[in-house]
């Protein structure tokens, strides 16, 4: 039953992603488009309510766990997701990065006691994350229209589909009697830990934003582009500001 549900879920994601691909050239023409802004803003409001009643209080409670324990748990979660990164390093043909991920996985699992410690970073093997949404982007697939999904956050069709596809490479999918519980539990714990780590900065950004919805949209798009480019800054991608020089005098 669960298996069937999962297949259905994947199939619907694939369908929505293909629909997005079909209209990708139109979408690419105007990346700032947010055709479902009204709907997205409602979903964003739902998320903020859920956050203030559930996620934020839970995250605040989680901060009572001693810092070294939280650090180890974070390491463990990072190690657990690394097969997904490895698969996508390979899909992108990034062999050197795949090597780093494989070495990190081996070292942290064996020497780092199942991932609780991160000896690989101390050896200069820096962690990075990849997902199938990024892989599709490197193949030239456009993100599609911006979508905000409560509890998932900004999820344009490409990234939503990629997220579902990544479950195939996620070891927790194959643990336990069904393939949904593991990933959902991991995703939830990951979310609580991330929310707790960033409590201060998220509150500060919300407090200082004149339009928090638009700020989150901008943060997501920019951060996503940066991830797709593996953090490399390309000067040619910067907005052209030469014209501003002529506007100095009225």
């Amino acid at each position: 039953m669960m298996k069937r549900l999962q297949n259905l879920f994947l199939a619907s994601l694939l369908a929505s992603s293909l629909a997005a691909c079909a209209s990708s050239s139109a979408v690419q023409a105007d990346l700032d488009r947010d055709p479902y802004e009204g709907f997205n803003r409602k979903m964003f409001a739902v998320e903020q309510t859920l956050d203030s009643y559930v996620l934020e209080p839970v995250a605040k409670g989680y901060l009572y766990v001693p810092q070294p324990v939280r650090r180890s748990f974070r390491n463990f979660l990072n190690n657990l997701i690394s097969p997904v990164t490895l698969a996508n390093d390979l899909f992108q043909g990034e062999m050197a990065r795949a090597g780093t991920t494989a070495l990190r996985l081996g070292l942290n699992t064996v020497v780092g006691l199942g991932g609780l410690f991160d000896p690989a970073s101390r050896l200069g093997l820096e962690r990075h994350e990849e997902d199938f949404g990024q892989t599709l982007a490197t193949y030239g697939v456009a993100p599609g229209p911006y979508l905000y999904v409560p509890m998932l956050g900004p999820s344009p069709p490409r990234d939503l589909f990629g997220w579902g596809f990544d479950w195939l490479f996620d070891p927790v999918t194959y643990v336990g009697s069904d393939s949904l519980t593991g990933p959902i539990l991991r995703y939830t714990l990951d979310g609580v830990d991330a929310r707790a780590t960033n409590l201060g900065i998220i509150d500060e950004i919300e407090r200082s934003s004149i339009d928090f919805y638009a700020t989150v949209r901008s943060l997501y798009r920019q951060n996503r582009d940066s991830e797709i480019n593996n953090g490399v800054t390309n000067l040619d991608d910067l907005p052209d500001i030469d014209a501003l020089d002529d506007l100095d005098d009225f």
Binding site: I210, A214, R217, Q222, N223, S226, T233, P239
Partner: protein, 213 residues
Amino acid sequence: MRLTFQSLAVFALLLMPLSATAQTNAPDLGKAPDLSKAQAFVTELSQDAIVILSGETTRAGREASFSKLLNEKANMRRIARFTLGQFGRKISKPDFETYQALLNTFIVKVYANRLGEYSDEKVIVGKAQANKKNVIVSSRIEFANGRDPIDIDWWLRLEKDGSFTLFDVRVLGVWMALEQRDSFASVLKNNKGDINALLAHLRNKISADPQDG
């Protein structure tokens, strides 16, 4: 790797007086920007910022020093123009001056506090790359408390007199001025392009900010 960055930064600092003199004597705009001078600019700017963020104990003091630093090192007029996007071409001069004044206060309040989260850190200045009048200097912030390091890019602009000014800063892949431009554009769009709506939003945020703490 860190050693290389550090020696680069030190090297850049040593070079700075030399290149500064060279630039004042003969500002040659046809030539590519001086990368080591750009790195030195970032080294000095980031150190000044850390001194302010960790040294000033009151919010008012931190904001005053941060404001002074920004006015010295950043071209606030260009940032104001940029953050208005397409709308910048339509705005009247008095409205622009009001916007500029509010934006300066807003930026100081936002970033003096957002960056306050990043205390107890060390900045390692990395490589620089240039394209026409734009220079991007990479850097990495390391935290004493074991938090993951973060990469920060600094977008500098070569001015007519040969000096550099700060235009934008990228933290975790996000350009700050670009983020503000997106938010401002959203407010303008949802208020039929009425600049007074944006000015009111800025005033609200500024007055809602705690005065001291």
